[in-house]
Amino acid sequence: MAAFLQLDQVSKAFGAVTVADALSFDVPSGEALGVIGPNGAGKTSMFNLITGTLSPTSGRILFDGQDVTRSSAAKRCRAGMARSFQVPQPFSGMTVFENAMIAATQAGGMHGRTAEQFCLEVLDQTELLDRANTLAGGLTLLGRKRLELTRALCARPKLLMLDEIAGGLTDAECGALIQTIRDIHARGVTIIWIEHVVHALLAVVDRLIVIDFGRKIAEGAPRAIMESPEVQEIYLGIEADA
């Protein structure tokens, strides 16, 4: 089966700074892929390249059988991608519910009561229902992170891209988040998840890739990757011979 998302030698450089260096990998349909790597490794830049917020210097990106390398972010979203932003980007002057409604109506293609009901369900799932009428600009950082997840879910994507949504949660909240993402995965949604909270990631993903200096340095089964000496050294800063 052809890959649902394929990155083919994707590179991006800002002058002398390379944020993506010949990145190539495939994500089959229905997979949950975890992405780890040190701060500044280029994980979020990779998300920006996939979603169209950045355009690559070279290389190709294929999504659902289409070459989307030159497509706008909006077009890729309508083709079925949705993401959360690591640095939350709320519609500050609108309420939490309205933020969800924008995702459901513009990206999710829903209308009227159906959209409203769907948003209520997602807000319940992400524990923001009691803040539904709060202006998004008035949320705490944690609330804004939840709103990022909410919007991504309301978009009803085929490919869900999550960028560090578990940081700062209590154990109980993290458990609930894991369950939410598992449920979405079980529905057949393809997921790419960047996360520093490794235990949350390992509870969900089928496969891991490791990024450093814009390069893919390892790829494989989660446990094996986490235990490999090169990951221990580069990602966790532990000497290889220790």
Partner: protein, 342 residues
């Protein structure tokens, strides 16, 4: 938590009262020819036209983020089209107003393709330059009086209504109708799916694009529709003035600076803001206009004080204190009645 305990509503008691009061005020205003004097009606007519211009500029700048200082391009264009179409095209003035709108949209398309390449302050300057190009171009047309302008022939004026009072009533109702039409159109648009997209763009373009909203297309549509309606208002303005010249038609002071003042002090990015702003602007103008230059200094001072003390304008101040909206755009999630009992 049971989701059937919640429902979503877009109205509120305040909005229902506002709608009722609005309807009553509208009836009183429609009946103005029977209770208001000639001078008052002329003043109110001018007020309604400014209200329409301000509501349109607010849609463009406050929601689509297109801060144009060149809307006088379309006011003047509409005015000149009224003169050209009635004098040379032999059209009835009302037909000419409608056609001026269509032509305004047409001319806005290439203008938008040009100036949409500019961002922020450069966009603002670009719109002003375009307006100057319009002014200089119309000053070259000798058939329309060139730089000194021309007057609307008596025959065309009389085709509107035979008697003077008939014409005055008609132009008052046209001004009132255009303000009501513009506000209703803005309100209905903002309530629609596309209006939600536009509001999202206002708040965060990065997130809006990532949620499938075509930012360029949305802004383009807003710009072109705003241009068309502004041209129609321009035609109406010069139907009342009966005389047009390039300097009056493309005046940045009259058609843009005052409009920005109205929107900013009233509350940019809200439907209510331009209404409050227009009332305050006319109140200041009518009480201070005799003072000459001091009047403009007072206007500037008021604008500076409000921008510093209430950056969201007077309506922003009221809204944040009382959490009300007269034109209900918000979605509100409320507990359903049956669940509050149990």
């Amino acid at each position: 938590m049971n989701l059937s305990d919640f429902h979503v509503t877009r109205t509120s008691p305040a909005a229902r009262i506002a709608a009722l009061l609005g309807a009553l005020i509208l009836i009183v205003l429609i009946a103005a020819p029977w209770w208001a004097g000639r001078a008052d009606m002329r003043l109110m007519g001018e007020l309604f036209l400014y209200l329409a211009l301000a509501s349109l500029w607010n849609l463009m700048a406050g929601y689509a983020g297109l801060v144009s200082v060149g809307q006088q391009a379309y006011v003047g264009f509409g005015g000149y089209m009224l003169f050209a179409l009635t004098i040379f095209g032999g059209l009835h003035p009302l037909g000419a107003i409608a056609l001026a709108g269509a032509l305004g949209a047409l001319i806005a398309v290439p203008v938008a393709l040009l100036i949409f390449r500019l961002r922020g302050a450069y966009f603002a300057i670009g719109t002003w330059v375009i307006a100057e190009v319009f002014r200089l171009s119309f000053a070259q047309v000798s058939a329309l009086g060139g730089g000194s302008g021309s007057s609307l022939p008596v025959g065309i004026v009389k085709s509107l209504a035979a008697s003077r009072s008939g014409r005055e009533h008609l132009s008052y109702w046209l001004a009132l109708g255009s303000a009501v039409l513009v506000i209703a159109a803005v309100y209905l648009f903002l309530r629609s799916r596309n209006g939600l997209a536009l509001t999202a763009i206002r708040d965060n373009e990065l997130a809006a694009g990532s949620l499938g909203i075509d930012i360029w297309r949305t802004k383009f549509i807003v710009y072109v529709v705003t241009a068309a309606l502004t041209a129609m208002i321009g035609a109406l303005i010069f139907l009342q003035k009966l005389r047009i010249s390039p300097d009056a038609a493309f005046s940045v002071n009259d058609w843009t600076a005052f409009v920005i003042f109205i929107v900013v002090i009233g509350g940019i990015g809200t439907i209510e803001g331009p209404i409050i702003g227009t009332l305050i602007f006319f109140l200041l103008r009518e009480t201070l206009a005799d003072l000459g230059t001091i009047y403009l200094i007072v206007l500037g001072t008021v604008a500076i004080v409000i921008m510093l003390k209430a950056p969201t304008g007077l309506w922003g101040l009221i809204r944040s204190r009382f959490d009300i909206e007269l034109f209900p755009l918000r979605f509100r999630v409320k507990p359903s009645p049956q669940s509050t009992k149990g």
